[in-house]
């Protein structure tokens, strides 16, 4: 059964009447209370809304495909504000009585919500944010991450830079914890030397000064982490600057949510993620097909992560009752679902052990830009914080 809220949002998409109808039918068919209630708390308004919308859509698709009428989903907006996120999470836990919370896009919001949710005995399953604080000493038996620990894509970018033959890298990121972690993650696997390290202002939109520094430096490659609009601005300005050092970075600046806005400026750039839309496995192909059919667009990694999160919860729901937390936790730990990214298992800190791919931005014949999987950058990668986590199972 899908609650009123979720039904409304799915309909509001206007993407797939068929999907909305089928969800409606599920709700009618299953009159009694749901066996498992999931709170999908994500960013649905303002600048970051695109990412939250993708997570939600991927997630709802997986739940719908599972055909499990016992899973009920409530969807709410966190406005990308930590205090609103805490408030809505409290509401979901205290008055909606959800068993599982998921959906948060941004690390600072996840850090506000996850500890208090797990402290109240609920599960938090992260479809995106994976801050180090929750992966190491601060890990928790009821906190799972289906995407990656935040450092993963940056470490993969470091490995990719080595393969690209970069010896001296110019590295930059916005000056906030995720940006500082990005540079640390990159340096962990990068074997060359760092020519220059630059922190920009969070939300900065003009990069002329930084590009001038790149031109003047003796670097032979550039690593950068600039999510959302910052990445769009940088890529457009870099493409027009005449500087032609090779770029490498995590997928966040090259993802399907922003590629249409960057266009040719991103063509050919290598970037790293756990998944690409043309990944060669049946689960991924089926997911991309059904997502396109339901919503009329190519799924992003956020959609893929939302989808895998849905698969994980659905898989655990068939094995155990969520009211029996120990049994349900054990079922989650098994990760007995066919991930769209291929092999997937949890480490002791309940973060993924998985391959990271090098992806390349290409233009299809119909003019759309898309990421194509090139090769594996890091195989069976586990985050470095896992050893600090006291969980043992």
């Amino acid at each position: 059964m899908i609650s009123k809220n979720a039904k409304r949002t799915v309909k509001a998409l206007g993407a797939a009447t068929a999907l909305a109808l089928s969800l409606g039918q599920v709700a009618v068919a299953d009159g009694h209370a749901g066996k498992l209630k999931v709170g999908m708390l994500t960013t649905l308004t303002g600048g970051g809304a695109g990412l939250g919308v993708d997570i939600r859509d991927g997630f709802l698709l997986a739940i719908e495909q599972s055909g499990n009428a016992g899973i009920e989903v409530v969807v709410e907006d966190d406005q990308r504000k930590p205090d609103i996120a805490v408030q809505v999470a409290d509401k979901m836990i205290q008055s909606e009585k959800v068993d599982i919370l998921t959906g948060i896009v941004f690390s600072n919001l996840a850090l506000a919500v996850a500890p208090s949710a797990t402290a109240q005995g609920k599960f938090y399953i992260s479809p995106n944010a994976g801050p180090a604080q929750l992966a190491g000493r601060g890990c928790h038996e009821n906190y799972f991450n289906v995407a990656w620990q935040n450092d993963g894509p940056h470490e993969a970018a470091g490995a990719t830079a080595n393969k690209m033959g970069i010896k001296k890298a110019f590295i930059w990121a916005p000056n906030y914890p995720a940006g500082q972690d990005a540079l640390t993650g990159f340096k962990r696997t990068f074997e060359g030397e760092v020519a220059q390290e630059v922190f920009t202002k969070l939300g900065q939109t003009d990069y002329a000064a930084e590009i001038a520094q790149m031109r003047a430096s003796d670097a032979d490659g550039i690593f950068f982490f600039a999510p959302g609009g910052m990445g769009i601005s940088f890529l457009k300005q870099y493409a027009d600057s005449g500087v032609d050092l090779p770029l490498v970075g995590p997928a966040f600046s090259f993802d399907q949510t922003i590629l249409p806005a960057v266009g040719a400026a991103a063509e050919g750039v290598l970037n790293t993620a756990q998944w690409a839309p043309d990944l060669d496995n049946d689960a991924s192909r089926a997911f991309v097909e059904s997502f396109k059919e339901a919503y009329g667009r190519i799924p992003s990694i956020y959609a893929q992560q939302g989808f895998d999160t849905g698969l994980l919860i659905a898989s655990a729901a068939t094995k155990a009752d969520v009211k029996d937390a120990d049994a349900f936790r054990a079922a989650l730990r098994e990760a007995d679902f066919t991930s769209t990214r291929g092999d997937f298992k949890f480490g002791n800190n309940q973060h993924p052990i998985q391959d990271f791919w090098v992806r390349k931005v290409i233009q299809l014949d119909d003019g759309t830009f898309i990421n194509t999987a090139v090769e594996v950058a890091l195989e069976d990668r586990q985050d470095v914080y896992a050893t600090e986590c006291a969980l043992d199972w």
Binding site: N175, E197, T205, A209, R215, I232, S233, D240, P260, A261
Partner: protein, 305 residues
Amino acid sequence: MSTILLIEQILNGLQFGVMLFLMAAGLTLIFGVMGLINLAHGSLYMIGAFAAAAVAGWSGNFLLALIASLIAAAIFGVIVEMTVIRRLYKRDHLDQVLATFALILIFSEATRWTFGSFPLFLDIPAVLKGTVILPGGIEYSLYRLTIILIGLAVALGLYLLISKTRVGMRIRAGENDREMIGALGVDISVLYTMVFALGAALAGLSGALVGAIQSVEVGMGEPVLILAFVVIVIGGIGSIRGALAGAILVGLTDTLGRTLLPVLFSSFMDGSAATTVGSALASMLIYILMAGVLIFKPTGLFGSA
């Protein structure tokens, strides 16, 4: 840091300043003539960028896109002025701040409702792509040079409009004595609507110009809006000349601050920490500049009490 790089950074600062000026000019004009604080100016900037992206996507013509941005922002400006803004002229600043804050909410979400949650594509035209070599061997983006020229042209145009034309005379008269100009038989409400539309069109134009090298997305207007406020406050609210001076001062301070401060700090701190601290300070620098200016000149550089 080499001299060439320093000169290039000064040019970058100048260019950033001119971009800010395009935005700030309309804001300061509206304040100067009508005494209105318009927080929704950033929304008009966003509307310009979205209109340009939509028209460029449909026609493939950048010039057409620029014209569309001017027209769309001006039309929205006129609509908003006639329905909402004109009720606010006689209100205190507090009401103006709240009402235009409400307009931001409406415009942002309405734009998202119309165009979706994902950023739009807008590219610079082929003729302006690439770089040129300036004297001294500086390689500089042609498009950025064009922005500098357009900004200076707008500054000159505004100067001529205000000091040489009949409309300009009325605008100046309106700035000095609102009651008097009405008494002289000038239709003040038409004049106000025109000035507001002009300010809106400038915001829309700058949204389109800047949108081509930045991200066209919902919420793009607010960071620029705050910067534009800093600019006009430093320059003296209501003064076009002040807006130009303030914009260039802010552009230079920000650009040079964020490139030089980390270098400065690394002379006595270790690498990573110096970059973090230097950048942290650099992000506060323009606000420090503004506070400093106001402490010594409480009405800005070119403002009158």
